[in-house]
């Protein structure tokens, strides 16, 4: 062998050894983590169509945890909130859940916004014994008791409850008699309308629903379907969908001469709806599982609003901000007692009473929080105004003056 070749070999061997050593070190996960430091893994929709909600939730969640740390509530435990963008895609959601689950420093997760991801990831989190609080994830199939993953908790009611109350309002309280239903073919929209239809028929008889159809997301012109249903003389058009289509439908309804209002739920309950629909938005109805900030006990809601603005986030917290903030507070309080241990935090989630922006609550045996604030809002003079709210167990409505 020539000398050059020999040198090359030696260099190669040395480099190889160094790199192999490096890779072995790197491949071993952080074993020497400071004992009192843990992470909370977010798995939210941070880009794409629903991004504004996801980003608002992430910011709020993080704010709660950071505030708890700053206030010294966690003593010497450092809690870091890691960012995870599932872009609304199930495969990515599962990948993020796996990543969080396998990382021994991660002691809690906040997932998923998209219901489909909630459905796909609960078994992953359960497998790793990682407690997860669901944000958004309306679909009941992502929650207990519709599955058996004991690690899943919710900080907002799921669709069956929300839609039941929406139907109760429409049929019993507002006494609408001629209803038509539209869904946007997404699981979110469709399950909403399915449940609404079921309860509405139970309460008001089959005849109350004059018909049902679907629209496609990203469609712009709804005049054909609206023209088709106009002769039915509706009292109410219920839409399971999101802001983009709802605002257009509302405008076109008004232009075509509909007198009935449009009703929808959380997907539409946003200022963007009012902005885009403009004056046509007047009279629109929406149910939402959250109260105006002033209604939360002891001015906590207002304080949250102030704190969020003071923190200087670029994006608004949107309608789910307070719930996300509550989730952060829950984790902070669960960690406070026990430190960075998944099992212990899980136990705390099951048994502890939490003191959050939404009020004091516990999680019931199915992981659902026991304050179910569902409210009916209407657009009046360009703002969402609360009309009715439910009691804590969401059994009936009380008018709000």
């Amino acid at each position: 062998m020539t000398r050059r070749a020999l040198c090359a070999c030696v260099i190669a061997v040395v480099l190889g050894a160094v790199l192999t050593g490096g890779l072995l070190l790197a491949a071993r996960e952080q074993t020497e983590a400071a004992p009192k430091s843990c992470k909370l893994a977010a798995n939210l929709v941070l880009t794409g169509g629903w991004a504004p909600f996801g980003v608002g939730m992430f910011n709020s969640f993080k704010l709660a945890v950071d505030q708890a740390t700053a206030a010294g509530e966690l003593k010497d435990i450092k809690v870091e909130v890691t960012r995870g963008d599932n872009t609304g895609d199930t495969a990515q959601g599962v990948a993020l859940a796996t990543k969080a689950g396998q990382d021994p420093d991660v002691v809690g997760a906040f997932c998923c916004w998209a219901s489909g991801i909630g459905v796909a990831t609960h078994s992953v989190y359960n497998r790793y014994g990682l407690p997860v609080i669901l944000g958004g994830s309306n679909d009941h199939r992502s929650s207990r008791p519709f599955h058996q993953s004991k690690v899943v908790f919710r900080n907002s009611p799921y669709d069956l409850i929300n839609m039941k109350m929406a139907a109760v309002y429409a049929v019993d309280v507002a006494k609408f008699k001629r209803l038509y239903l539209l869904d946007d073919t997404t699981p979110f929209g469709r399950t909403q309308v399915d449940e609404f239809e079921k309860v509405a028929k139970q309460l008001g008889g089959d005849k109350i629903i004059l018909g049902r159809d679907s629209i496609t997301p990203n469609e712009k012109d709804f005049t054909p379907i609206l023209t088709k249903i106009k002769p039915l003389n509706l009292d109410l058009l219920y839409l399971g969908g999101r802001v983009v289509e709802a605002s257009l439908i509302r405008q076109q309804m008004v232009k075509l001469g509909f007198t009935a209002p449009l009703m929808s739920s959380g997907g539409v309950f946003s200022d963007t709806y009012i902005q885009v629909a403009g004056p046509a938005a007047e009279g629109s109805l929406a149910t939402f599982w959250g109260l105006p900030l002033e209604y939360y006990p002891e001015g906590r809601g207002v304080k949250f609003d102030r704190d969020y603005k003071a923190a200087g986030f670029k994006e608004p917290y949107e309608s789910f901000g307070p719930m996300a903030y509550a989730a952060g507070q829950v984790f902070a309080q669960a960690i406070k007692g026990e430190g960075c241990d998944r099992q212990k935090i899980l136990k705390n989630l099951e048994s502890q009473e939490f003191d959050t922006v939404l009020g004091k609550f516990r999680f019931d045996e199915n992981g659902m929080l026991d304050i179910l604030n569902i409210a009916v809002y209407r657009v009046e003079k360009g703002q969402w105004k609360i009309l009715y709210r439910t009691d804590r167990k969401a059994t009936k409505f009380e008018k709000v003056s």
């Binding site: 062998m1 070749a5 090359a8 070999c9 190669a12 061997v13 480099l15 190889g16 790199l19 192999t20 490096g22 890779l23 072995l24 790197a26 491949a27 071993r28 996960e29 941070l46 880009t47 960012r83 995870g84 963008d85 872009t87 609304g88 895609d89 199930t90 495969a91 599962v94 990948a95 796996t98 990543k99 396998q102 990382d103 489909g116 459905v119 796909a120 078994s123 199939r141 073919t185 997404t186 699981p187 469709r190």
Partner: protein, 429 residues
């Protein structure tokens, strides 16, 4: 391979093929593979995006420097030509060892699994597009066909995965046949449109046929495969080491991709493969040479879609939940980009394309908002400066890029020859 042989002849000292030389060559290959492997794994384990970007830049500079020093390239080519079998063995060992080395990190194994699924699709599309030159813009349709077939057969009829896997492939191949058949006489641009439309229809049908596909709910609780009593969700015990369950899916996918690679290599040098390449180059001429266009195009389509079906089945059983959003147009375009950017016709290139496509966005999570934008920019740059792909087959590079020996482009720039009838026209005309 011609270029490599030529270079090999130049670099090998004639008459010194002794055993010592062989061992030295093998040692170099082994160490080289280990180094590269180490580098790759190191890059993967970099959690901070900034570190990863720095790392990528250094690697990029290294690769660029490598290509600029012809001596290194020819030597390497010579070495690989000599010990091609051994080199392949090293690569195979490296691939098989991945979960063992990374057994502490199931997440990275999961990502590698996903890359494998896409690689399988890329290998499939390589038949249709890379070999036969047929523009299929709706490839996700076959992926969907395979996934739904396998999912339905196992959830509704309880069939074992090992049965549903080949069935999924066959059903997908059937879809490919159905798509291809009407389009055979049609010009390639129209073929692109039809396949595009077909891909869209399949996605829409998946979304709307609730009784069959579950509509936008998708299909849930798809059971994992099992062998005897061993379920794929159990950790894998290999002697003294225990691997997380994700490794099971990883090895399954690797096996299937391996199958695809073997099929590719055999078909490439077979009569069928050569007919495909002839069709790709010039249909009319191929027909004049007696090649049965219809049969070969059908074969290309069905082979390509078969692999997509396999990929779909594996995906469904690994994620346990499928949804029409998993089979939309961006997926089709993604696979298309993998094949084109990786190097059409070169199976190693398209697999690399798939690996990049899955791993790079995972590592660049911090740039999540700019992810797609960066993807678009890199795609544009790649098409502009290296349209033959990252690892093109030699023929492809000669077609589209610079001749490795002389540095001249295979295509004459239009401006040099104004108005001359000899200038080759745009082949799409």
């Amino acid at each position: 391979m011609a270029e490599v042989d030529y270079a090999a002849k130049q670099a090998t000292v004639p008459g010194r093929g002794s055993a010592g030389r062989v061992t030295a060559a093998r040692a170099v290959i082994l160490i080289g593979t280990a180094m590269l492997y180490g580098l790759v794994l190191f890059g993967l384990s970099l959690d901070q995006t900034l570190h990863f970007v720095l790392f990528a830049c250094v690697m990029g500079a290294g690769v660029y420097g490598w290509t600029r020093v012809p001596v290194l390239r020819t030597r390497a080519a010579a070495l690989l030509a000599q010990e091609a079998g051994f080199a392949r063995l090293c690569v195979i060992v490296a691939i098989l060892a991945y979960p063992i080395v990374l057994r502490g990190n199931p997440y990275l194994i999961h990502v590698a699994f996903l890359a494998g699924v896409f690689a399988l699709m890329a290998v499939g599309l390589n038949f249709t597009l890379g070999f036969a030159g047929l523009l299929d813009l709706g490839y996700a349709a076959y992926f969907a066909a395979g996934a739904y077939t396998s999912a339905l057969l196992s959830t509704v009829w309880g069939l074992s995965f090992w049965l549903t896997l080949p069935l999924a492939g066959l059903v997908a191949a059937g879809f490919g046949f159905v798509v291809a058949w009407p389009c055979l006489r049609v010009h390639d641009r129209y073929l692109a449109l039809v396949t595009l439309g077909f891909g869209a229809i399949v996605e829409l049908l998946a979304r709307n046929l609730r009784p069959i596909t579950g509509g936008t709910d998708g299909i849930l609780n798809i059971p994992p495969p099992s062998l005897g009593g061993f379920s794929f969700l159990d950790p894998l015990r290999l002697g003294p080491v225990t691997l997380p369950f994700q490794a099971n899916f990883y090895y399954l996918t690797v096996a299937l991709v391996g199958l695809g690679v073997v099929a590719t290599l055999r078909l490439k040098n077979s009569r069928v493969g050569r007919s495909w390449e002839a069709i790709r180059e010039d249909e009319t001429a191929a027909a004049c040479f007696g090649i049965d266009l219809i049969r070969h195009k059908l074969k290309a389509f069905t082979t390509g879609s078969f692999f997509a079906g396999l990929a779909g089945a594996v995906f469904a059983h690994a994620i346990s939940f499928i949804h029409p959003d998993n089979f939309n147009f961006p997926v089709s375009m993604g696979v298309l980009c993998m094949v084109v950017a990786g190097g059409m016709g070169n199976v190693g290139g398209v697999i690399t394309g798939a690996v990049f496509y899955v791993f790079v966005p995972e590592r660049l999570r911090e740039f999540e908002k700019l992810r797609l934008l960066l993807f678009g920019v890199s795609l544009l740059l790649l098409m502009r400066f290296r349209p033959s792909g990252i690892f093109p087959s030699v023929r492809r590079r000669l077609e589209l890029g610079r001749d490795p020996a002389t540095g001249a482009t295979g295509r004459q720039p239009e401006a040099d020859r104004p108005g001359l009838a000899a200038a080759r026209s745009d082949p799409s005309g």
